[in-house]
Symmetry: C2
Subunit: 396 residues, 2 copies
């Protein structure tokens, strides 16, 4: 007898996407040392604007609090402090979603909880993801050996695939606004997904990490759909909303109405988190709380508007050129059809070589991403404008 590893890890595919992009950039830089300064990166999925002042002030003051005996705090509640959960509760109330505090769990980011939530589910469940897909949904389930079915997103369905009668899945990942396509489900579409989940006794894992980019009547939360609390867990993040990609805070909603085979899921998640997690840094939670103050909201809105303006620069160019795309209006991602019928890696090379602009080939997000390309709105106005000027030049 001997210790045995989890064999599923051997079935994981290596993720070559960003490594391959880096390799091609390095080669290009070596071949074109004179052009190095012209390179504009439009592939980044990370924010670039600094943390809002209100957040910084809250974190500075919380750090100092921990340095004084009378205000020091040790272990906090694993599920997060009430001060932050209450701020999130009020935020959801704006969209007429009522949450109990014990339905809100503060996390160190949506990515952690999207993976960890699988601890609660049997390995035999069938998982449905859309293609193209945020690779984490696929990899985390392959680590557990679950069967994965792909629901194809395409130009035909506006990159918003809908369930069909013959479909079957136990766990359904929906990401809206979507990474990588930027497409957003409307209320009617989400109603159909909720109905499908209810009929199939499935659970929707709803990734709302980009909800802050949503405008108009589009839903911010799956719980805006009646009946969703009985079939959905929602994941959200301060990463894109408030520049927390390096500060690490998010939250997960596990409604008390979610009951499977008579077993409520909320206490299971509480048990998982109290056993395998020790809560988010107090300083970070105070920073996240400041996001919801009047000052904080004004400051994060300025950043979101800044990125939105970049997105508009990109979509205006694509509109002018008559190139098909999704996203950009309610999302920091713009997902475009490669001009000239190029496949996504060929277009990557062309854009790099002829315009010194880097984006992300759609094929890296799944089969259905082939011949599509992702640009992001997280650069500066100056670089975004210059990149799109060159893009236009290239497409002439």
């Amino acid at each position: 007898m001997a210790v045995k590893l989890n064999g599923n890890y051997q079935n994981l595919e290596e993720s070559y996407l960003f490594a391959e992009i880096a390799r091609r950039i390095r080669k290009w830089q070596a071949d074109h040392p004179d052009k190095a300064e012209q390179l504009i990166r439009m592939g980044i999925g990370d924010v670039t604007r600094p943390l809002p002042e209100a957040v910084v002030n809250a974190m500075v003051s919380a750090s100092q609090e921990l340095g004084r005996a009378e205000s020091f705090r040790g272990y906090g509640p694993e599920q997060g402090y009430d001060f932050l959960k209450e701020a999130i509760q009020r935020y959801y109330a704006r969209y007429a979603v009522e949450l109990d505090l014990h339905e809100i769990f503060i996390s160190d980011g949506a990515k952690s909880d999207l993976g960890n939530i699988l601890d609660l589910f049997d390995k035999d469940n069938v998982v449905m993801v859309t293609d193209p897909v945020y690779p984490v949904y696929v990899d985390t389930n392959q680590m557990d050996g679950r069967k994965i079915v792909f629901k194809t997103a395409s130009e035909e369905n506006g990159f918003l695939p809908m369930p069909a009668k013959e479909d079957h899945a136990d766990l359904i990942y929906l990401c809206s606004p979507n990474n990588p396509t930027g497409a957003v489900y409307d209320r009617e579409m989400l109603k159909q997904w909720v109905a499908f989940a209810r009929e199939n006794h499935a659970v929707i894992l709803f990734d709302a990490a980009y909800e802050c980019f949503v405008t108009g009547d589009l839903p911010h939360s799956i719980y805006e759909i009646p009946g969703a609390k009985e079939v959905a867990i929602e994941f959200c993040s301060f990463s894109k909303k408030a520049g927390f990609t390096g500060t690490r805070c998010g939250y997960t909603i596990v409604p008390k109405e979610l009951v499977i085979d008579g077993i409520p899921v909320n206490p299971m998640w509480l048990r998982r988190q109290t056993t395998k997690f020790n809560g988010v840094s107090y300083v970070t939670q105070r920073g996240a709380e400041a996001v919801f103050t009047a000052e904080g909201e004004k400051q994060i809105q300025e950043n979101i508007d800044y990125y939105r303006e970049n997105a508009a620069i990109i979509t205006d160019t694509l509109d002018e050129l008559g190139i098909y795309y999704t996203g950009g209006k309610n999302s920091p991602y713009i997902w475009l059809k490669c001009p000239g019928n190029l496949d996504s890696w060929s277009f990557f090379d062309k854009l790099l070589n002829e315009a010194c602009v880097v984006g992300t080939p759609g094929a890296g997000f799944g089969k259905a991403g082939e011949s599509f390309f992702r640009l992001t709105a997280f650069s500066t106005h100056e670089n975004t404008r210059e990149a799109m000027r060159r893009f236009k030049e290239l497409c002439k």
Copy 2:
């Protein structure tokens, strides 16, 4: 067909220990409103001294850095920044343990990684824990449905159980200095455990969360034992060392020499962390880095010495009374035999009712904890002295 939950959660035992302690204290407070102010809590496993100034200053300055465009940082490496990994690498070098940077993974705490590491191992492995035990080792394995065998710690083996020839296990949890007993394995004992793991093709999960309390020649790290790198993963934490219980930072060492069935474990853990984790807050990592500066080390040493003095107040009293105990010398925990042959809950009640002092009944940590009791060194000098004065009075 329908979604299925992980059925193992239904086999978890509710942890009543701290809830039951809280219930008994509430009842006592209701029955003795006049004595409420006399209550001294000696059961807490949380630090009470504020964060060292060097750490606070580093966190304040890192927070401000994130507020300026030119020094803003987004996503960091999931496995942690080199600046912190290098500080840890230098710390291990003091004990003649050489680590590569890629063997060090920064975490949000030992508890998270102790649970998450199990992702890498098959459900069929047999797990060995010592009894009494830190409940997390048991619960996290029950969540996966692994078989658990208990190795009894007792007065006979000084609460330091050793492996026997006939023992078998695939995953072995060792915690030294131990929670809850405070007992510390010496070099010779750890050599035997390493030899046992090597012969049995087992992996040791070594919890070094309390290593900062170790003195003299006792090992701080399992890797001080030759050959341990091939069979052990080590977990450590800034929680007790530097007051990070609410700030959340730790680290996990996965040596490149740990290879199972030809598969190196280090890249599996990297894959797990890059897929299900997004790194520790930049601000927290800067705070942790400051722990290793000359100023930071001096300040954390003052706090550790403060707790050590409390431990000495407790052990001096027990020595005087001739009560058997482990810990206290190289640990913030003191594990004592209940005076008067009482069982641990009876002694809890007696200590509360007659001395207004709260501790933790040993039975809460496992069968072998019955008739033992845990006191901690995390209170103030004043309270510790007063508690032990009353304890002595009680035992007269």
